[in-house]
């Protein structure tokens, strides 16, 4: 059976894709998602990484999925959207290569440790906590005019909120759980090496006007312009979407220093 779905309002993107993920499709069905009415410039890494997850999710269930009028991922970082399906074997290689390209092509004098560190924290977060069964993508794009790198990591795993609440049943809602996930030292200790500094570390690399956002299960957490807002969603996103921006022009010049513990 063929299903045609049209997504025309970008503000309804996540509720719309949540509906697709939770819909009762059968193997051998065909799902066609059309984004014709959404202008190209409205797409961000959030949209590309999440739709990649949806396509992967459906195809793993034997459901054919095609997406029309959506920007095609490219290998370039500055012209379009660089998309990668997470693979633990190449995790460090990925972050290393992204930083190498940024350094060689755009910012030879910048210390890009923050970029690499944040990418590593975000990617390890998925492998350590999400139980996403390979349905996880990272998408990034660089705006060379504003010198801002935009990164979205989306997985259709357990979701941060669910994971935290299963560990700490005393946390009664997803909003509180997602807010706690960002707190320094808060961890479910999924792996021995987890101590709960990862998300806080990413957040601290974002400048005031950079956006840091988590959407997970029934909650959203947004930090921008020195303001943090958390709120309950009227849909249940089946996984986690982490989005952050790094203003590269604010990063320090690359120089070696001597640091004593």
């Amino acid at each position: 059976m063929k299903h045609s779905i049209r997504i025309s309002d970008i503000s309804q993107w996540l509720p719309a894709i949540t509906k697709i993920i939770t819909a009762d499709f059968s193997a051998n069905d065909e799902v066609q998602i059309d984004f014709k009415e959404i202008p190209y410039e409205q797409f961000t890494p959030i949209h590309i990484s999440s739709i990649a997850c949806v396509k992967c999710f459906l195809e793993k269930r034997g459901i054919k999925c095609s997406c029309q009028h959506v920007p095609r991922p490219t290998l370039s970082i500055s012209k379009g959207f660089n998309l990668w399906q997470l693979d633990k074997a190449y995790l460090e290689t990925y972050s290393h290569n992204i930083c190498r390209i940024l350094k060689q092509s755009f910012y030879p004098d910048k210390d890009l440790s923050a970029v690499k560190g944040c990418l590593n924290e975000a990617l390890y977060n998925v492998f350590d906590h999400a139980e996403a069964k390979d349905i996880a993508f990272i998408c990034l794009s660089l705006d060379p005019i504003t010198d801002r790198l935009c990164v979205a990591v989306c997985d259709l795993g357990l979701g941060i909120a669910k994971k935290i609440r299963s560990h700490f049943p005393e946390i009664l809602n997803d909003t509180k759980a997602v807010a706690m996930a960002v707190e320094n030292s808060f961890t479910t200790k999924s792996r021995k090496h987890n101590r709960g500094y990862g998300l806080d570390n990413i957040l601290s690399c974002c400048n005031d006007d950079d956006t840091f956002k988590i959407i997970s299960n029934g909650a959203s957490y947004i930090a921008v312009n020195d303001k943090i807002s958390t709120f309950a969603l009227d849909y249940d996103f089946p996984g986690t979407l982490l989005y952050f921006e790094i203003s590269i022009y604010m990063l320090p010049e690359d120089e070696d220093i001597f640091e004593e513990i």
Binding site: L112, V115, G117, Y124, H193, D254, D256, E259, I261
Partner: protein, 96 residues
């Protein structure tokens, strides 16, 4: 004084938590030295999950006072140094 080249450790261990564990082991085996210098040349973007299995574990097992002033990072990036400072300060405040 002993010098540990971080780049060599990273080459031997693909994943950061494993590299952190290897760094921890090298530091422990040289703890009797007056000073341990970790040469971070060509290594940038050390994530906290590597610090957890190295510096964090050292603080857990030996206490901060035992390593304070003994371990230095050479050729470290400014941002990594800031991450390290913040990490240690949070770690100590959490464990005290």
């Amino acid at each position: 004084m002993c010098i540990i080249r971080l780049e060599d450790i990273m080459k031997r261990h693909q994943h950061y938590p494993d590299a952190g564990t290897a760094l921890y082991a090298e530091i422990v085996s040289n703890l009797q030295d007056e000073q341990i210098i970790i040469d971070s040349e060509n290594v940038r973007g050390i994530p906290t999950l590597m610090l957890n299995t190295s510096i964090g574990r050292l603080i857990d097992e030996f206490g901060y006072s035992r390593i304070k002033g003994k371990i230095c990072f050479k050729h470290m990036g400014k941002t990594d140094a800031e991450t390290l400072r913040k990490y240690i300060s949070h770690y100590i405040s959490k464990t005290v």
